[in-house]
């Protein structure tokens, strides 16, 4: 019944295609390309560990059918240091120690990039609001907020 289909999409700036079955989600699709920055944790859309950006909008990869990226453009955290240099957001997270184990960090970094694109000078409330769907089990929240502000100051 389930038939694999070929999808074509842009992955971190590169045109790619692959066969995928309809019941696979975006995290599983990314793993096929050896991209492990988006990882499934809650699996329920709550924590943001599986964040990927599809056509400029962050989504939860765990709740996103892989076939839906057909014809679209997907960005993962791996895009940011593809040229060997960290993005300003990544650097700010390191400078502020905005993580302990780092499991949640790719999601926070992607969301922060997106937030700063929409709002280059976010208020504390804007930051808390935008990142409310990202959970950090190590509770590095104060440092994360400091890092987001620092990244905003540095300009991306």
């Amino acid at each position: 019944m389930s038939v694999a289909r070929t999808i074509h999409f842009t992955l971190n700036g590169r045109k790619v295609s692959t066969e995928i079955e309809p019941h696979h989600n975006l995290v599983e699709l990314l793993q096929r390309f050896d991209l492990f920055g988006a990882r499934e944790s809650c699996g329920q859309g709550l924590c943001g560990c599986c964040t990927a950006v599809v056509d400029g909008q962050p989504v939860s990869g765990c709740l996103y059918f892989a076939v839906m990226v057909d014809g679209k453009s997907v960005t993962t955290v791996e895009a940011f240091d593809a040229d060997g240099a960290l993005s300003k957001v990544q650097q700010a997270f390191i400078d502020h120690g905005a993580f302990q184990c780092g499991f949640c960090t790719p999601g926070f970094v992607l969301m922060t990039h997106q937030l700063l694109q929409d709002k280059p000078n976010p208020s504390d409330d804007d930051i808390r609001d935008y990142l409310s769907g990202n959970l950090c089990r190590c509770a590095a929240y104060p440092e994360i907020i400091a890092a987001v502000k620092a990244a905003a100051r540095a300009g991306r």
Partner: protein, 289 residues
């Protein structure tokens, strides 16, 4: 998730034709956020999903007419609605509700049609649209019909939408001089599922309340109008005694359900005070024109 057959029709009518009136394992899928949760939890194992992603851009359109009526295509995402400045200006109550509905990523994917058709009584959009007197147009194999949002739900996760029918769009009548509010009471974080939702739309004629539409959700097994409380409010002024009587009437008429966000006893008290607070919030909201 278990494998299934995925159909990707190019039109709404074609999508309707791929549904099956006799088979509950065939469902339409919009953003898939709610369906995937059910599939992951093992409560739903589809044999076929009919994707609405390619039925045409016109089904994602959002427009406010010159007369102030809002039309939202079923495939508009919740974030597209949130970012639509015309809709936000014409219906501040919708604009205030959306940022507290789940998180950015879910709103980027979830569609208005999915939010209306899912039938989970905890959802935030249905009570607001029901209070505003919105109607959905439902398309079936032979004909279309309009159903008021407050008549869409028949029980817990149950709607009047047939297995071979689709919601095409929703029409919200102009606010005109109405005032509206939605009270979302959460027991955990601000953007959590509510323990109680109370939506109200009304006319304030001096101190007198008229045309009150009062809707409860989350504390009840389905989105429902509180008609006894409405009767108390209509023609009365919003003083403490009236609001208290309306709250008591709401508790008396509403079948309350308990869940992990609150027991029946707790939610009864939430509703008792929530009705008055929602009415006061509506009265203090700024007029839209």
């Amino acid at each position: 998730m278990t494998p299934f057959e995925l159909m990707e029709p190019q039109t709404l009518q074609e999508a309707v034709g791929l549904l099956d009136p006799d088979d509950a394992s065939v469902r339409p899928v919009a953003g898939g956020t709610a369906l995937m949760l059910m599939m992951k939890a093992g409560v739903f194992a589809p044999t076929r999903l009919v994707s609405l992603q390619h039925i045409g851009a016109q089904h994602s359109e959002i427009g406010v007419s010159g007369a102030g009526e809002l039309r939202i295509g079923a495939m508009a995402t919740l974030s597209a609605l949130e970012r639509n400045t015309k809709a936000a200006e014409a219906f501040p109550v919708i604009a205030r509700m959306l940022p507290r509905l789940s998180n950015v990523r879910v709103r980027n994917v979830a569609c208005v049609g999915g939010a209306l058709a899912h039938g989970d009584p905890h959802m935030d959009l249905p009570p607001v649209l029901a209070a505003l007197g919105a109607k959905v147009s439902i398309v079936g194999p032979k004909e279309s019909r309009d159903v008021a949002v407050d008549e869409l739900y028949t029980g817990y996760y149950e709607t009047v939408v047939g297995r071979n029918e689709l919601i095409a769009d929703v029409i919200v009548p102009a606010m005109q001089s109405r005032k509206a509010a939605y009270l979302k009471i959460t027991a955990r974080s601000a953007d959590d599922w509510p323990a109680l939702g109370v939506a109200v739309a009304l006319h304030a004629d001096g101190n007198t309340l008229r045309d009150v539409r009062l809707v409860a959700s989350a504390a009840t097994a389905m989105v429902m109008r509180l008609t006894e409380a409405e009767k108390i409010l209509n023609g009365a002024s919003a003083d403490d005694a009236t609001l208290k009587r309306a709250g008591d009437a709401a508790v008396a008429e509403a079948p309350i359900i308990g869940d992990i966000r609150g027991s029946v006893a707790y939610k009864r008290e939430l509703l008792r005070v929530g009705v008055g607070r929602a009415v006061r919030q509506a009265l203090s909201s700024r007029p839209t024109h």
